[in-house]
Amino acid sequence: MINSFRKNFKGVAIEGITLFSALLIITIIIVMITVIFIGGKSQLSWEFLTSFPTEGMTKGGIFPAIYGTALLVIIMSIAAVPFGTITAIYLTEYAKESSFIAKTIRFAVRTLAVIPSIIYGLFGLGFFIKFVGTHVDSALYGGTLHWGQPNLLWASLTMALLTLPVVIVSVEEALKTVPQELRAASLALGATKWQTIRKVVLPESVSGIMTGTILAVSRGAGEVAPILFTGAAYYLATLPGLGDQFMVLGYHIYVLTTQSANVDQSLPIQFGTTCVLLMLTFVLNMSAVILRYRIRKKKNN
């Protein structure tokens, strides 16, 4: 035995410290989930999910916020998923790994991933609303305000830009797991490159595209900063269309906790809304993790 007891003790202590920090992080996560769930449990009911807010937001449900969030993520996915998938296809199938342009695109994607979400909000305001919107208005409506103001469409497109890197990264990972032999076999049978991608590579990576979509939806449902001034509204009596402002779960939480006049009275609703949002993102993330785990398992086989 070369190691003395003292040396051993030191090793155990250091390992203990690292284990302790890992457990501390997990404790924080569990405490957060538990506190929010216990606080919101009493609120969770079918009625809460399906009715409109009443009595100055202190009672009633959060249906418009759920509806707005759903619309937001659907339009966002319609915009972000095809674009993200195509970019991922280019990066894996067409571009050479070491080429300058591929490196630049990868760098751009990573930059998109780290740009603060509030900057996307500013971009949405400056580009979609003030640039595209006003030009569309002056061209189609003779200048009356239709699209040159915050609405659901611009908010969704802003969110789509934010979630684009999430989609690209997951689809790329999935495309890489498609075995090279499959591509070679398809090409050898006389299929063209595009046919190979469409009929062989893409069907093989559907689960990866699904993962990317789920992660993007979960991110988009939770982000608030990009839609602060591109479309989110405090309260609406009707359900929104494409050209209207809309209510969102995340913004609802923010508004109720900081802007509303009677914070204490709406406390149960705040906890209820947070609980709904957390459960939504939690379930989405879990399913993405499971899907991804399956993909990785397939890769290893």
Binding site: I25, I26, Y90, V114
Partner: protein
């Protein structure tokens, strides 16, 4: 060999090739429109992500441009109705060249009228009153009818000059008769909160990453890693809510400070948001260190923890550096937590238990109430441009410098 023979041989060869290409069709790629189009479209879409980054900077910076318009006389416009007002808005923002565009009857550049203009509908009540007074003043000096909108992209040049000057001061008082846009307190607040959150998050997540990549057995690893990664999926508004409702009260009861919402609470909450980023990248860097390092160290008689701290950790330092950089980027731009849990008071104060206001939170809180085209609006966009540049640089450093160094170290070149 003569020249003639050479050319002759070449001709022969090319003849053979020609014959082959006529007979054997399979080796020859036929031109297909569908394939060609698909490739071009895919390429175009892929290039779009580069364009988006570029566009984001251009459009965020463009909206802040009028603030630099100090030397030129104020661009004024008196327009009837909304249609023209919007056109004017677009035209003037584009107007970075020397030509001054003026609509309507006014634009008397020699008499420097100091006008605060409004664009479209005024939402903020206090601001609108100021605007009306000022607009009224200017309208009286003009021949234009009183029922017109007075619109311009930039505000008066004098306003811009004072606004630019006031940026180096400490006072952030954007809505008042004498608006001041001192960024120093905001910058200090942002740095302070970043520092606190990193002090909390970096050691915790790096130690956890060491545990997962070196000490943990396979089963522990499969539990801990996905759980911490799950935290990355937490919406920041949920973390902000948790900090506001639970963490703030809890920390106050432990540390007994005065203001309930302060940079300490905000810093811890942002640290929670930054943990998954730092953890994931550090863990990746640690596992990227070749197994041979680990085995060699153990073979030389070092214990597991010695190997972890004196062999693997130093080899992965550039990666850990990148992780911390990206953590800084995350905290720097975090808006919702800053809005909800920091107290939002712009103070020059190094005390961690004092309220702060960060740059991102300032944009988030004030942009919805600002008058479009106003100096305040431009200043907020300028802050946005600063944030963009900062995160862009951080990402570039993490990407190129650190990765290059990491590869060099691991491959031993």
């Amino acid at each position: 060999m003569t020249k003639k023979e050479k050319t002759g041989k070449k001709k022969k060869l090319s003849g053979l090739e020609k014959w082959q290409s006529e007979r054997i069709d399979i080796t020859q790629k036929r031109f297909r429109v569908g394939d060609y189009l698909a490739e071009k479209v895919i390429k175009g879409v892929a290039y779009l992500s580069i364009a988006i980054v570029f566009l984001i900077f251009v459009f965020v910076f463009r909206e802040s441009l009028p603030i630099f318009n100090t030397s030129k006389p104020a661009t004024e416009t008196a327009v009837v109705g909304k249609q023209d007002s919007q056109e004017t808005y677009g035209a003037v923002t584009d107007n970075t060249s020397t030509t001054q565009e003026s609509y309507g009857s006014v634009a008397d550049s020699s008499s420097k009228t100091n006008v605060q203009e409004t664009y479209g509908e005024v939402t903020d009540q206090t601001a609108s009153q100021e605007q009306n007074i000022l607009a009224g003043d200017s309208a009286s000096s003009k021949n234009s009818s009183s029922d017109t909108y007075t619109v311009s992209a930039g505000s008066g040049s004098d306003d811009n000059r004072t606004a630019l000057k006031s940026m180096a001061t400490k006072e952030w008082v954007p809505v008042s008769a004498n608006p001041r846009y001192g960024l120093l307190a905001l910058i200090l607040g942002t740095i302070k909160i970043t520092f606190i959150s990193l002090l909390f998050a970096a050691p915790l997540s790096i130690l956890a990453a060491i545990y997962v990549s070196v000490f943990a057995n396979k089963r522990m690893k499969e539990i801990i890693k996905p759980t911490i990664e799950l935290l990355a999926g937490f919406p920041s508004v949920v973390i902000g809510f948790f900090a506001l409702m639970v963490l703030a009260t809890f920390l106050q009861s432990v540390f007994h400070y005065e203001t309930r919402l302060n940079s300490f609470v905000g810093g811890i909450a942002m640290g929670i948001a930054a943990i998954p980023i730092i953890f994931t990248i550090t863990e990746d860097a640690l596992t990227a260190v070749p197994k041979s390092f680990y085995e060699a160290s153990l073979a030389l008689g070092a214990s597991k923890w010695q190997t972890a701290f004196f062999v693997i950790l130093p080899a992965a330092t550039p990666g850990i550096f990148a992780a911390i950089l990206l953590g800084i980027g995350r905290v720097f731009g975090e808006t919702m937590i800053a809005l909800m849990a920091t107290g939002n008071a712009a103070q020059m104060d190094l005390n961690p238990f004092a309220s702060v206001r960060t740059l991102a939170a300032t944009i988030g809180a004030e942009m919805a109430e600002v008058v479009f085209g106003d100096t305040h609006y431009n200043v907020l966009f300028l802050i946005g441009s600063l944030l963009f540049i900062f995160t862009f640089v951080i990402n570039a450093v993490a990407e190129f410098y650190v990765k290059g160094k990491l590869m060099k170290r691991i491959q031993g070149k």
